[in-house]
């Protein structure tokens, strides 16, 4: 999608004939985009508020920033044959198509313009918005449309419009729209739903009816310029309605494609030429860059042109080649001057050349006595039409610029052999620096009287490269070895290291519009003096070269510098170094000291290619790269910066593309960026992209600035602030919640463990107690005594039977010993114990003790029971009841609903056997602890029943 084409910036001068060029100064067109750089023929262009250029072709829309050209997809339509482009105040780009459709592009989103009234079927030729924000669009066949209050109105021949074929629209004061048609000029307005049209045609003095283009005049809001099909151009006064024809023979019978009215010039395109005129309609030059169509000036005051070969650019009025001396003359030139009548004066060997570009007049005025060996070093023109000429070894000459008469300056003692380094002046003062001393005089029509300042100055007979009188009538001397010396009311002040001027050799001095004094020093760059201290301007401030040979001020009072690497400026207000442009074809720079001239229209300087005039046009708004963020991508997918400012924690890979648009010299642009919140150091880069992967949550501001000099103070900056949210698990509420939850859980677990431990402890205690009880019972002397008595009887009656008895007794004790440690045993095992027990007791009580066991074999293995529970109950029954033949004790056990009931008939002893009553309580506790179940004890008049909840075998 990103169709980036690196465009070779080709230096292309389109008028190749040097001989012709010598006669007619011209402008160099530089090819910025070739026709192959885009798909389809280029048809229109417009500059966006962020200084980029939109280009409409027969097959699409492109964005160009001086370096790359990017296709902008227009999804709504199949083929975009773009015939008109317009950006309104809200930065909405309006795109008019050949088929009459209109698209809107805002924030990179395109949208088909679909008013309910429909759109035209004829090609859109021009779109403009008036001061009320109403969109006007012209069609080739349906007249003019305008959108007001979301309604579309049509102004066509039915409403009085001259013709329905409209070429061009222009917004005039009072929201009047000038329209050019096949039937002349129409001035239209739409006030309170009332259309009004005024037509002007050949009947009103127009030279032709087919008006192909209209252009407003930047110097005069009451005048418009018209270009016609048959090659005429005219000025049309909106006040008097008068037509003033501009006769240009070079335009005859060539249809005018476009008109560009500048501050001092008028540029016209026809099918095979670009014609450059002065405002006074004098021809400056004509060229053929191949089918030129639309002309436009950008905010840097460059001029752009769409031609068959592609997109061309030149420096426009900023930089003009005003004279091209013969190749043989160029090395001989040491100084240049321009007088009020636009004559250009330059020095060659032994003579002065006077050249008038428009008149194509060239006069060579020899200086008597000046031969090939004595160079002419300095030219200065005073207000009385005198050109002061300084020579090496031949002194000063005076040339009358009107009469071309030359005379030697006689009033200056020793003039015949004087070597002049510099002649300068201000108002009527003339300052001469020679190897023989410093002289001052005032301009007169009479005899000249010279004041010798050499002794007064204290500088001595030394080289003084330049003498400069400032606006406060102070005179500055640039010395070779003694720094800067200032003379005020005949008092001299020396400036040096004390004031911060660390250089000794000063070449040149000037004063900017703020009143600061600037001086150029040998290998030290510049110094700026603010009446207190000197500040050095070196490479670190963006100066391209430390050796500045000439210093001057331009027409706007900014500092103009010449060095071997070219010319550059320093903005007087911001003190920023400005590189005005990549001026191909300027040729090598002359390093003669103080070889520029300040004139009313600008600064004159000469290079290996000719004499140039630099002037800052009043419409130049920009002289520094304009920074913008062109795209922000999240994981390499572009996002909308206006809509998306907040991102989830894992949306953390950001890429930024940016541009520093500087059409004058795109190759010089470099960037500095930083991501506030990530790092605080500016990173310098030539790259226009940067990626930040894995950003931590937080708020960031991406900041980028661009510069052509490497000096970034005062540079334009663009930024984008965004937030990456913390993941929810890092939010305070979540963290707090989790801490609370974990704490709660821990507290619960600890409590539970405590409970379990307590329970276990209790169980252990109970178990021990039970064991103790049981053991105690079993070793109860009563039991033993009874058992041994019974054993004795058995031995006596039948010794054979004593053996099983003892075996049972032994089994019983073994079981007790074995089982006592366990928490639970099988019901079957418990019953085995009880059987052993009953066997022993039955020997004693015989039939008086009966045991009814209705527990099935299946149930015996299905359930578990705390050990010795039944034995204890049986023992209790025997212990508390009378067991006799008359009152037999019947112990019954049965299971119902998982409850084991142990019952015995009640026949209590009157004398109760000693009992701690702890047996039953122990059973209750153990059941509670092990199974969490309750043991029920029921005592009726006849029976004692204990209900034991059974525990399923694990």
């Amino acid at each position: 999608m990103r169709n980036s084409l690196v465009i070779l910036v080709l230096s292309c001068f389109l008028q190749s004939n040097a001989q012709v060029a010598a006669d007619a100064p011209f402008t160099f067109w530089q090819q910025m985009l070739s026709e192959q750089a885009v798909t389809g023929k280029m048809q229109c262009m417009v500059f966006s508020k962020n200084h980029c250029m939109y280009i409409g072709t027969a097959a699409g829309l492109y964005l160009y920033n001086g370096v790359t050209v990017t296709a902008i997809p227009l999804k709504e339509i199949k083929t975009a044959n773009i015939t008109a482009l317009h950006e309104d105040a809200n930065q909405v780009l309006w795109i008019g198509l050949q088929n009459g459709s209109i698209l809107k592009l805002h924030n990179k989103q395109s949208l088909l313009f679909k008013p309910q009234e429909g759109t035209p079927a004829s090609a859109i030729s021009k779109m403009i918005t008036d001061t009320k924000g109403r969109l006007w669009f012209a069609t080739k066949g349906e007249g003019i449309y305008l959108q007001d209050d979301n309604k579309i109105y049509n102004i066509n021949t039915d409403d009085g419009l001259g013709d329905n074929y409209v070429y061009d629209l222009e917004l005039l004061p009072g929201n009047i729209i000038a329209a050019s048609t096949d039937k002349g000029l129409s001035l239209c307005s739409f006030i309170q739903s009332k259309k009004s049209v005024q037509n002007f045609s050949t009947a009103n003095g127009l030279p032709d009816n087919i008006v192909r283009c209209i252009s407003t005049d930047p110097n005069d809001s009451s005048t418009i310029w018209l270009g016609f099909q048959q090659g005429e151009i005219c000025k049309f006064s909106l006040h008097t309605r008068r037509v003033q024809l501009v006769t240009v023979p070079q335009l005859k019978d060539k249809q005018v494609n476009d008109l560009l009215i500048l501050h001092q010039q008028v540029w016209v395109t026809t099918d095979n030429s670009v014609v450059q005129l002065s405002r006074e309609s004098q021809l400056i030059g004509t060229q053929n860059p191949g089918n030129p169509t639309q002309l436009m000036a950008d905010a840097e005051a460059n001029i752009w042109l769409i031609s068959k070969t592609g997109l061309l650019k030149n420096a426009g009025e900023k930089l003009q080649l005003i004279a091209q001396p013969l190749p043989g003359e160029i090395p001989e030139i040491h100084d240049v001057w321009q007088d009020e009548e636009q004559n250009i004066w330059y020095s060659i060997k032994g003579a002065i050349v006077k050249y008038h570009a428009a008149k194509k007049q060239k006069t060579i005025i020899p200086l008597p006595g000046v031969d090939d060996k004595s160079d002419i070093t300095s030219l200065y023109g005073d207000d009385e039409n005198n050109l002061w000429i300084g020579t090496m070894g031949k002194g000063i000459y005076l040339l009358n610029t009107k009469t071309n008469l030359v005379k030697r300056m006689n009033g200056l003692p020793g003039n015949e052999s004087m070597s002049i380094l510099s002649v300068t002046g201000r108002n009527s003062n003339i300052w001469i620096s020679s190897l023989q001393g410093i002289y001052h005089t005032t301009v007169t029509n009479d005899e000249y009287f010279f004041q010798n300042l050499t002794e007064l100055s204290g500088i001595g007979i030394n080289y003084i490269y330049h003498i400069y009188e400032d606006s406060k009538q102070r005179v500055w001397f640039a010395t070779d070895g003694k720094g800067l010396v200032m003379m005020n009311n005949n008092r001299f002040t020396h400036y040096g290291e004390k004031q911060g001027l660390t250089a000794k050799v000063i070449y040149s001095v000037t004063e900017d519009k703020q009143g600061n004094i600037w001086c150029a020093a040998l290998q030290k760059g510049l110094y700026r003096f603010n009446e207190k201290t000197f500040t050095n301007f070196g490479l670190e401030k963006g100066l391209p070269d430390l050796d500045i040979s000439s210093l001057d001020t331009d027409n706007m009072g900014n500092v103009f510098c010449i060095s071997r690497s070219g010319y550059f400026l320093i903005d007087a207000i911001t003190q920023t170094v400005i590189l005005p442009g990549n001026e191909y074809r300027l040729g090598s720079f002359n390093t003669d000291l103080n070889s520029t001239s300040h004139t009313a229209s600008g600064v004159l300087f000469h290079t290996g290619n000719g004499i140039f005039l630099y002037a800052k046009p009043p419409y130049q708004q920009i002289n520094l790269p304009q920074t913008s963020i062109t795209a922000v991508s999240l994981f390499l997918k572009e996002i909308s910066t206006s809509e998306q400012k907040e991102f989830a924690h894992d949306e953390n890979n950001f890429s930024f593309s940016f541009a520093g648009v500087f059409f004058s010299n795109p190759a010089l642009v470099q960037y500095q960026y930083k991501l506030d919140g990530y790092n605080n150091e500016w990173q310098t880069s030539k790259n226009n992209e940067v990626n930040f992967p894995k950003l931590q949550p937080g708020t960031y501001t991406f900041r980028v600035r661009s510069s052509a000099t490497g000096f970034f103070d005062n540079s334009t900056e663009a930024g984008y602030t965004f937030t990456i949210r913390k993941p929810f698990w890092k939010e305070w509420w979540f963290v707090t919640g989790i801490i609370l939850l974990v704490t709660g859980f821990l507290v619960y677990v600890i409590k539970e463990r405590e409970k379990a431990a307590q329970k276990w402890q209790q169980l252990q205690t109970e178990k021990l107690q039970s064991q103790y009880e049981t053991l105690k019972n079993q070793v109860n002397p009563h039991f033993l005594f009874n058992s041994f008595n019974t054993l004795l009887n058995v031995i006596e009656e039948d010794p054979q039977k004593a053996v099983p008895y003892v075996e049972h007794l032994s089994d019983f004790y073994r079981s007790i010993v074995n089982m006592r440690e366990k928490d639970l045993i099988l019901l079957a095992d418990e019953l085995k114990i009880i059987e052993d027990y009953f066997f022993i007791q039955k020997k004693r009580f015989g039939k008086a003790l009966m045991f009814e066991n209705s527990i099935t074999e299946k149930e015996k293995v299905l359930y578990s029971i705390p050990p010795l529970t039944l034995q204890l109950l049986a023992e209790n029954a025997i212990k508390h009841n009378i067991v006799s033949k008359d009152h037999p004790l019947v112990l019954a056990m049965y299971i119902k609903d998982e409850i084991l009931s142990v019952s015995n008939n009640l026949n209590e002893k009157s004398t109760r056997e000693k009992s701690e009553g702890m047996g039953l309580q122990n059973i209750k506790n153990r059941f509670q602890l092990i199974a969490g179940k309750e043991v029920k004890i029921e005592k009726t008049t006849t029976h004692f029943i204990v209900q034991l909840p059974l525990i399923k075998r694990p």
Partner: protein
């Protein structure tokens, strides 16, 4: 349908009294000429049909491509119709539009005019402004014009083999006399 018939009758009756406003021709002359380095090709047709509406200053002309005669050989004519002009697919060339200049047709004399309109040749439309001479005579209106047509403008391909024999720029001249209906 009844009132339509009445309207037509009314229109016929009215037009009988009003000065004629529509001038037309059926046999205008069209000549074209290709001046290539190695060959000169000439062809012409006398079947130019055209109409001029004086009230609106509008015009329409058309010519059947197959009606061109001349050429240097019958084979050349065949190539012209089949390979270049594709006369089956695009049987006619059309030019219609308006006259820029305002002319007083009641005054006899020669006027230099510009005819602006859509020129359709080989199915490709080009907007053209064509300079012509218009002469108001006793009998009617004569139109004489000379202009050029670029084959490349109308997507008519020139094979490389005949590049030296066929010019891209074809000179066309028109001479038509239009009479009142």
């Amino acid at each position: 349908m009844y009132y339509v018939r009445w309207l037509m009758i009314l229109w016929i009756v009215c037009s009988a009294f009003v000065q004629p406003l529509i001038y037309s021709s059926n046999n205008g002359l069209v000549i074209f000429r290709s001046e290539a380095p190695f060959e000169l090709i000439n062809a012409s047709s006398k079947e130019l049909k055209g109409a001029l509406d004086l009230s609106k200053n509008n015009f329409a002309f058309r010519i059947r491509i197959r009606s061109f005669e001349g050429f240097n050989s019958p084979l050349q004519k065949e190539h012209f119709n089949e390979n270049y002009m594709e006369s089956e697919k695009f049987p006619e060339a059309v030019f219609n539009g308006k006259i820029i200049e305002t002319i007083d047709y009641s005054k006899k004399g020669k006027y230099s005019i510009r005819a602006k309109g859509k020129l359709i040749i080989h199915g490709v439309e080009q907007e053209r402004i064509i300079k012509s001479d218009l002469e108001v005579t006793e009998k009617g209106i004569r139109i004489i014009s000379q202009f050029s047509v670029l084959l490349s403008d109308h997507a008519i391909p020139i094979p490389r083999v005949v590049k030296e024999k066929l010019a891209n720029e074809i000179n066309v001249s028109i001479n038509a006399e239009l009479y009142a209906k």
